[in-house]
Every structure is written in structure tokens, then in C-alpha cells.
Point group: C2
Chain length 350, copies 2
């Protein structure tokens, strides 16, 4: 089933990445691991108005297969003793390389007919973070965000400057055609026909927000979160959403939780969604599901924001919650069980 | 004393701004006001290694006079019944127009010899916010951040796109010479002589961070915060610091507090300083000074971050705290008392 949506280029890149990651853990064998230490991973491919019947069977099968491929890639790294940071990167790379999601290859078109990509990640032990905003031509923005974290004194780089940094660090670029998908071009044209100034936010059911993200817990007890997006269709003026903002779209802190968000970014910034969820866990001692619910169905709804989050606490509890019709999501829980869901009436959290 | 550092252009702009603000409150007279409702304002001109003896008497007098001018301009608006948002903007405009601070006119040089300006603001009633990152040529980035909040569906715009938005909205631009100050050029040259790749962060005593900001409470009980900066000397790669990040450099929420930060921006982003302080006030029910202290002298020091914040709660309590040698700061408290301080042994909070 996977073969149909897998392409050689992506398979090679993932293999390279997995190889590089495993080489960093040459002593990792199952014998080294604390068998009591849970590992878990959860991913999302965006929240929006996704209703049963909106997707044909073939498209739905492709989406589910890619979600499963992504979550399994991250989980394999965790099982081998890899870090949660490596796991969330591997999971997000697969979603970025898929044309099905609004991140990397499948990014929406901006008002200039180009693709501006945003990404961020954070690890919960030292609370180190990296982010890039509005970069063009970078195949995997999440890997550039990681490079910003590891190879610069900075947390966030943007625009041409970030691209210059990327070229200095052997980050893979692709030509514009790589990012041009017919599905997204039709979205742009439909939106422009209705209103040249409109953005995809709060548009029709087939214009999902489709930001991607991953959150994981590794055998060392460390949390990490990553988020990547192509922003909103027809966006202009150098708009920055919540995905590259630490505290809004992404946050990780071993003392509380790790979160990756997807939704109407402006509201997620104003509500500092990811940090606020973790603050409620840390300061109010709320269970993760309750903290997420208070923000996603409370704060955000009061402000008028749509979307959802995936989140995990240091015990490996997973929450996938959203105030929209659906959210593409998958998880492999601490007990090893896999779930892949799209609609509201699927499992909301486990 | 003010005459020496005031110039006609700035005076006109401030007069225009004050005029526009007062026109928005034509019925505001002291008789209309709840005389019980406190108003207060606090500003900063950056934290860093500022020691007695580093400044000559003339420079110190200029700095103190500009801080006083700024805080009085904001306070005058509050006394007239204006909003805290208008007050913090008026205070920040004066600091941006001064060549003494690293914001607007006095912005440091980036690696290309230009000036990239960042600013953000937020109001605590509806938690609306606006921000711009890496804009060039905009005289008062804080007014552009406000325009993003009021006249776009977005919270954050960056780079050339933000400048395009600014031109559509009659934002004032100045030629590059406006922002070129001899003091900052010498900083750039000194840093490049030592290490072409160095940034001003953690540099010598005369290379203060000097971000500016303001926080205010108005007669309507609403808090607001604003922050503006020129970033770090010799900065490259489109680096974004904490100043334009809602939750890091700026945050306001009537349920807790309002904060404007200054310091080593990367740490302030990772610690989501402004939001974290307000979260501790709201969720842990801590007094503002304690919440600020826990973050500035606890979290940030543990991570290795330097800097400080100004903060205010809905009762008008003011906190000015920092873990550096000094912070340029001024306040007019709810009792009407003025303080203008630079060094650590001045009043820390009141």
C-alpha cells in the first residue's frame, strides 16, 4: 500500500536520515534500554473542515498511508533508542516530502505564485529550539530549523538570510517545480476568483489548513515537538503564522509537555497556544487532556480561533484535540498501539 | 534640558500623534474619569552592562531626559482618558525617534551595514496584537505593528512584504541616513575588528542591548505592552529576536499582566518570557514582582540568558527587574510619582 505513494527520492532521503540518526546511536540496542521507559509519538497533518464524503476513497487511502508511514518512521527511531528530536524530524520529513500536506512539497501558493515555508522545533530537556520563517526552495524546512538550533547562536532566522544560512550548511534545495502541485494551484485560482485578497483561512472545506507536526517521547524521558507549514493560500505581505513561533505553534518542556499546533495562526499566536497548554500542566497541575481542552475549546473558541493540537506529557500520554470538523492525525502509543484518524468521530485522544 | 535633544521633526510627529490620539477621545476630560481608577506607565530603553562611570555626564543627562520625555508623553495620554495602547505607542515613538536607543533612528547596523527593525504590541482586553520583523526604512516600527493589528487580518508581517503593507497604509519611511548614527557605526567596526562573525550579544559594556519598550494601564482598566528594537550589531541571516514575538518580548492580558522584555533574545524566545510571567501570575496567583523574579533571576539565569523586563498588573503595580548591571527605565506610578533610573542600585521596582 505504501509503495503507491512512496517515491524513490523520498525513500532515499528518509533512508539517509535514518542512517545518519542511527549512526549517532551506535550503541543503541534493545538490551541497553530501560524496558520500563515508555516511548510514544503522535503526528498531525493539519486541522480543518474535513468531513466524511469530502475525500474520495483513493485520496483518503493515500492520506492514511502517509500518516502511518510518518508515525512509523518516527517510532522506529524511538525503539532504537534515538532521541525524540530525531523522531519528530523523521516523521515531519515524510509529511514535508508528501504532496498531500501543506508543508514542504505540498505547500500552498502565496500571492506571488511562490511557496514560503515555515518550520520550528524544540526539545524539552534543555529547551533548545530552532525556527525558520518564509524560506523558499528548501526541501525540508524542519531540517533547516534544526540546523539553526545546532549550528547558529540563534533560534529564528527568516527569508533570504535564512536561505543564505541554509546554503552554508548543505541544506537540500529543490527547484520551484518541486513545490508546484496541481491541487494547490487550483486552490489558489478558486480563491482568487472569489476574492483576490482572500486567504485560505476560513475558506471552503477542501482548503484545509494542513500544517504538519509531530511530538514524541524517547527512552531517555525527553520530549520534543516539531511543526512545518506552507502558510495560507494567496498569503501576502510576508505574513508569519504560528508554526515558526516558539510558544505558539511549537513548545516542549520536560517539566510539562510538548505541543505542535495547527489552525488559524493569528489566534494561536495571540493565545500562545503551545506554551499556554504547557503552563496549565506545569502551574495548575492539570492533566494534559484537560489543559489542551481548556485552551482548544475554551480560550481559542472565545477568541474565534479554529484548529487543534497534538500533545504529549512526560508519561507518554497522548492528546489529539481540535475544535474543527477533523484533523489528520496518527499516533503510536506507549503500549505500541497504532491509530490513524481523520474525522471527529474517530478517536480524539488516547 | 529637553530642548537640546529634541528636534523639530520629532516634536512635530509626537504632536501629530498626540493630536490624533486626543481627537479619538474628544469627550475625555478629567471630570469624566473614575478618580479611583489608577493609571500608570513604565518604559525601558534596554538592559545590559551599564555601570556607573561608563556614561559621561552629558550622555547620561540626555538619556535620562529622553526617558522622562517618553514616560511623560505616555502618561499625558493616560491622564486624558486615552487608551494604554495609545500611551505605549506614544512613549515608544519618542524612544524610536531618539538616536540614543537601539530602535528606530538609533538602530544598530546589521552585517550588510543596514538597519533591520522589529516591533510588536498587544492589548490586554481583547488580546489583539501586531508585530513586524526585519523591516527597513520604517521610521516608527511600533506604528507599523499597530497598523498590522488594526488594518490587516494578520498578527505578524516580515521583511519586504511588511514594507509593501506599510506603503499601502501611509506609514512614514525615512532614507537610510536617518538611521545611520556614528555611535552605532563605531560599534559595528569594533565588533568586526574583533571577530567578523560576532554579534553584539555578550559584548563589551558600551554595546548595550538597548531595545525599547513600554507598558501601561489606562483608566478603563486595560493593560497594553509595546517593544521595538534594531536587533544585534552585525546580525546576519535574517535573525529574529524576541522583540517581535508575541509571548516572548511582548505580552498583555488583563487577567494577569503586561510585559515588555529586553535582553539576549534567543533565551527570551526559548523561555517565552513575557507569557511565562503572565502565566505565573494567572495560574500560580503569584504577585507580579515574584513572578518576574522567578523568570528573570530563575529560569533565565539557569538557561544562561541576560536581560530584564518591565511589567504591570491590573492594579497598576509596576515591576522593573533585570539580571544585568543596569537597565534604562522610567515610570510614573499610580500615585503620580516619577522615577528615572539606569543602574542596579537605583530603584528596582516600586
Amino acid at each position: 500500500m505504501l509503495a503507491g505513494i512512496m517515491n524513490t527520492a523520498r525513500a532515499s532521503l528518509v533512508a539517509l536520515l535514518l542512517g545518519a540518526i542511527l549512526m549517532n546511536h551506535p550503541q543503541s540496542t534493545s538490551a541497553d534500554h530501560d524496558s520500563e521507559a515508555p516511548v510514544a509519538i503522535v503526528i498531525h497533518g493539519g486541522a480543518g473542515t474535513i468531513r466524511r464524503g469530502d475525500l474520495d476513497a483513493d485520496k483518503e487511502a493515500q492520506l492514511r498511508a502517509t500518516l502511518e508511514e510518518s508515525v512509523r518512521a518516527g517510532h522506529a527511531i524511538l525503539l532504537e533508542g534515538g532521541t525524540s528530536l530525531d523522531a519528530v524530524m523523521a516523521a515531519v520529513v515524510i509529511l514535508e516530502d508528501s504532496p498531500l500536506f501543506n508543508a514542504g512539497r505540498g505547500a500552498v501558493f502565496n500571492a506571488q505564485g511562490g511557496h514560503e515555508l515555515d518550520a520550528s522545533l524544540m526539545e524539552g530537556a534543555g529547551r533548545q529550539a530552532g525556527a525558520v520563517a518564509s524560506v523558499e526552495g528548501v526541501r525540508n524546512p524542519i531540517l533547516l530549523a534544526h540546523k539553526v538550533m545546532t549550528d547558529s547562536p540563534h533560534v529564528m532566522l527568516m527569508g533570504e538570510g535564512a536561505e543564505e544560512f541554509a546554503r552554508l550548511h548543505d541544506i537540500v534545495f529543490e527547484p520551484p517545480e518541486w513545490f508546484d502541485t496541481e491541487f494547490r494551484r487550483q486552490q489558489l485560482e478558486r480563491i482568487r476568483e472569489r476574492d483576490p485578497n482572500a486567504h485560505a483561512v476560513s475558506e471552503s472545506p477542501d482548503e484545509w489548513l494542513s500544517t504538519v507536526g509531530a511530538v514524541a517521547l524517547d527512552q531517555h524521558g525527553n520530549l520534543a515537538a516539531a511543526t512545518s507549514t506552507g502558510g495560507t493560500t494567496n498569503k501576502r505581505w510576508g505574513r508569519v503564522g504560528d508554526s515558526p513561533i516558539i510558544g505558539a505553534g511549537t513548545f516542549a518542556d520536560n517539566r510539562s509537555c510538548a505541543v505542535s499546533a495547527t489552525g488559524t495562526g493569528e489566534y494561536f499566536i495571540r493565545a500562545t497556544v503551545a506554551k499556554d497548554i504547557c503552563a496549565r500542566v506545569q502551574y495548575l497541575q492539570k492533566p494534559l487532556a484537560e489543559a489542551v481542552g481548556d485552551v482548544i475549546h475554551g480560550e481559542l473558541v472565545e477568541m474565534g480561533g479554529d484548529g487543534g493540537v497534538i500533545a504529549m506529557d512526560p508519561a507518554g500520554n497522548i492528546v489529539m484535540d481540535f475544535n474543527t470538523e477533523g484533523m489528520y492525525r496518527a499516533a503510536i502509543a506507549a503500549d505500541g498501539s497504532l491509530s490513524v484518524e481523520i474525522y471527529r468521530d474517530g478517536e480524539g485522544s488516547k
